[in-house]
């Protein structure tokens, strides 16, 4: 990605929440760029900060008790500190969001048609008849069968997959340049998931939109994105083109995440490579590497000194690790830990 022409430039963004327990470092210094027509996947587990990052870009954060730092530039304009009131002109026309739960994202007492035309009428200067026509063609484009009839129905009359298509239609209504999809298929069945992701992909291609796909599923990321950010405990721990990430991952967390997924190609009763423990408390993140306590490669240095994001061999590949996967120092660290683990009475 070359500078200057990116649609979205996120630089050192931090979003902290002030709670009774102290400042929660939900997003802690994230940077990336996204161009038109490209898809960026953000993967991570619950609490890794991926949703807060997407909401920070959209400006959908609580009004109170939030600390925001860093810069978010959309088409070169700084929106990192914009209030919801200032963001209003971006929503719908410049950027739009699709949420995880299609039931709560739609208004249950409003007809489908109205929910789509509402945003068209708000943002675009068109007649009601034209807005309606546009809404029907939007439903058609997201492959909702029998769109005319669906216009007059309420959300509860639709299945989860259809509701999510309606949410996508609402998000696309005013032709946004950037679409943020936050776990858009997590609530859906696997057969429907593929259909909804196909719709998203087709629309993105047709409209040359930038797509930010937030998900916990590395399988979804692998097939549907150009580039991936792997997040852990509020930070980016690895960033690479999708092909590089899967062929040459350097971050032990990425490797552990991939290995912990059960695979249909493995025989039954294969013992899974679980990641021990759980993510750190973000009120008081560890001073060293945030993954150190759960990492198979961990050495003393990891607990003491936080690794910076450093470049890999492939352009655009960055990772945050002192003892990366597939390097001599990484292999040595792993071997050392295994030797210690094999010694009885030396449990970490």
């Amino acid at each position: 990605m070359s500078g200057g022409e990116a649609l979205l430039e996120v630089t050192d963004v931090a979003t902290w929440f002030d709670t009774d327990r102290g400042l929660v470092h939900a997003v802690d210094g994230v940077s990336f760029e996204l161009e038109r027509g490209r898809t960026l996947g953000i993967v991570g587990e619950s609490g890794s900060g991926k949703t807060v990052l997407a909401r920070s870009i959209m400006g959908l954060l609580p009004k109170k008790d939030v600390v925001r730092r860093g810069s978010i530039r959309f088409e070169g304009v700084e929106i990192g500190q914009a209030t919801p009131k200032q963001m209003r002109k971006y929503w719908g026309t410049s950027m739009a969001m699709v949420f995880q739960d299609p039931m709560t994202a739609l208004n249950p007492v409003m007809k489908i048609g109205q929910q789509i035309t509402e945003s068209i009428n708000t943002h675009l200067d068109v007649t009601r008849a034209f807005a309606r026509e546009l809404a029907v063609s939007l439903l058609e484009s997201v492959r909702v069968p029998d769109p005319e009839r669906r216009m007059g129905e309420y959300p509860h009359q639709l299945s989860g997959g259809l509701r999510q298509r309606v949410c996508i239609a609402v998000a696309l209504a005013c032709g946004p340049q950037l679409l943020l999809a936050d776990e858009p298929t997590t609530a859906l069945d696997v057969t429907v998931q593929a259909q909804v992701l196909d719709v998203l992909e087709a629309q993105q291609r047709e409209r040359f939109m930038a797509l930010l796909l937030v998900t916990h599923d590395l399988g979804v990321v692998a097939g549907r994105t150009d580039e991936v950010l792997v997040m852990y405990a509020g930070q980016v721990v690895e960033k690479a083109s999708t092909a590089t990430l899967f062929s040459d991952m350097k971050m032990p967390y990425t490797e552990a995440l991939l290995e912990s997924i059960p695979k249909v190609t493995e025989p039954s009763h294969t013992r899974l490579a679980a990641i021990p423990g759980r993510p750190p408390d973000l009120v008081d993140p560890p001073q060293g590497c945030r993954f150190a306590a759960r990492c198979a490669y961990v050495q003393d240095r990891c607990h003491e000194e936080q690794p910076p994001l450093r470049p890999g061999l492939t352009p655009g590949h960055e990772f945050r690790c002192w003892f990366p996967v597939g390097t001599p120092e990484g292999a040595e660290a792993l071997a050392r830990n295994r030797a210690v683990a094999a010694t009885p009475g030396e449990a970490p």
């Binding site: 069945d189 916990h216 097939g223 059960p262 249909v264 899974l272 759980r278």
Partner: protein, 338 residues
């Protein structure tokens, strides 16, 4: 699928649980919900049966009907030689400790106001097993077995634990009454993948340690394959296919099984799953399709599928399918027709 039949059942003497022609219907506005429509299953002692399907296919209802919660509309549930559907009141209650359940949402399935020690001990308290001292020892031993520090966990309440830890508490609560059969209803689908792997490994350990038999209900095929000795695929209240996971996943005979497998996103770039072949979404079980219930979404459906319900039949070594036109070994499911 659509199919009924019992060709896939093994000799009754071997089975710990044998369900025959189970029907569960609910009355609703607008008619009757046909949640489970005549399915038969058996589980041998020590075996794990994986039950997979999309939401609304009746897999959870099947699990609950085995527990007699609620009682099935008709059909037989024989557990350890006893017909559960005929047991009433105290006789059924006496059987309950042998059948335990683990639910999907680990946090809401634990009483937030009670302490973990009391939650886990409840089964023992109800049955007045041993004295207070021995119960306490058993609670500690069980908490330790599921990977929680008894001294730290005992006095705390569920909200102080993460989702994965709450699921460990649920497992402790389930195994403490020395059950024979555990029904796990989507036990890992609310968990992150890293924690999911911990819990799946733990379930395998528990099975070994406490000599358990399991009915494992889930929508995730990879998870089901990992834990199961035998897999049954359900669709809209009926069984599609039953077999050993290695065969069923390598060469699915039912078009629905093949479609489910094809729609799993594979964590390898370029291996995008876009042509699943399955059209649209699961129909309503208020008014299920005639004949084979899968025919409205099946790329192989022909006239016969609408007229005649397929019976489950043997198509290979321990592979049973309810389909008029099953896939031959190695045959691919063609993509969506016009």
């Amino acid at each position: 699928m659509a199919g009924t039949g019992t060709a896939h059942l093994r000799p009754e003497t071997d089975a710990l649980l044998r369900v025959e022609d189970l029907v569960v219907e609910f009355r609703a506005r607008g008619g009757t919900v046909h949640a489970v429509s005549g399915i038969s299953l058996d589980i041998l002692a020590g075996e794990t049966l994986g039950l997979v399907g999309e939401s609304g296919c009746g897999k959870s209802t099947t699990g609950r009907a085995v527990m007699q919660l609620p009682r099935p509309t008709s059909g037989s549930v024989r557990f350890d030689g006893v017909e559960l559907t005929e047991l009433k009141g105290a006789a059924l209650r006496r059987r309950r400790p042998q059948l335990q359940m683990i639910f999907q949402d680990p946090i809401s399935s634990l009483n937030p106001r009670r302490r973990v020690g009391d939650i886990v001990a409840e089964g023992l308290d109800i049955w007045d097993v041993g004295d207070a001292e021995s119960r306490r020892a058993k609670v500690d031993e069980t908490l330790d077995a599921v990977g929680l520090d008894p001294d730290a966990a005992r006095g705390r309440r569920p909200h102080e634990f993460s989702g994965g830890q709450c699921q460990r508490i649920s497992i402790a609560r389930a195994v403490i009454t020395d059950p024979k059969l555990i029904i796990c209803d989507e036990p890992v689908s609310a968990l992150d993948v890293s924690v999911q792997a911990q819990i799946l490994n733990l379930l395998e350990e528990m099975k070994e340690r406490y000599d358990l038999t399991m009915l494992f209900i889930a929508h995730d095929l990879a998870v089901v394959k990992n834990v199961s000795d035998r897999v049954a695929v359900m669709y809209l209240g009926k069984l599609c296919e039953v077999g050993t996971p290695d065969v069923l996943f390598a060469q699915p005979a039912h078009p629905y099984t093949a479609a489910l497998l094809a729609s799993i996103p594979v964590p390898e770039p370029g291996a995008s799953a876009d042509d699943t072949g399955v059209l649209g979404e699961i129909p309503s079980n208020l008014d299920p399709p005639s004949g084979c219930r899968f025919r409205t979404r099946c790329p192989r459906a022909r006239e016969r599928c609408a007229e005649e319900e397929p019976q489950i039949r043997n198509v290979g070594p321990d592979q049973y399918v309810a389909c008029h036109f099953p896939l031959a070994p190695g045959e691919q499911l063609e993509s969506t027709p016009a």
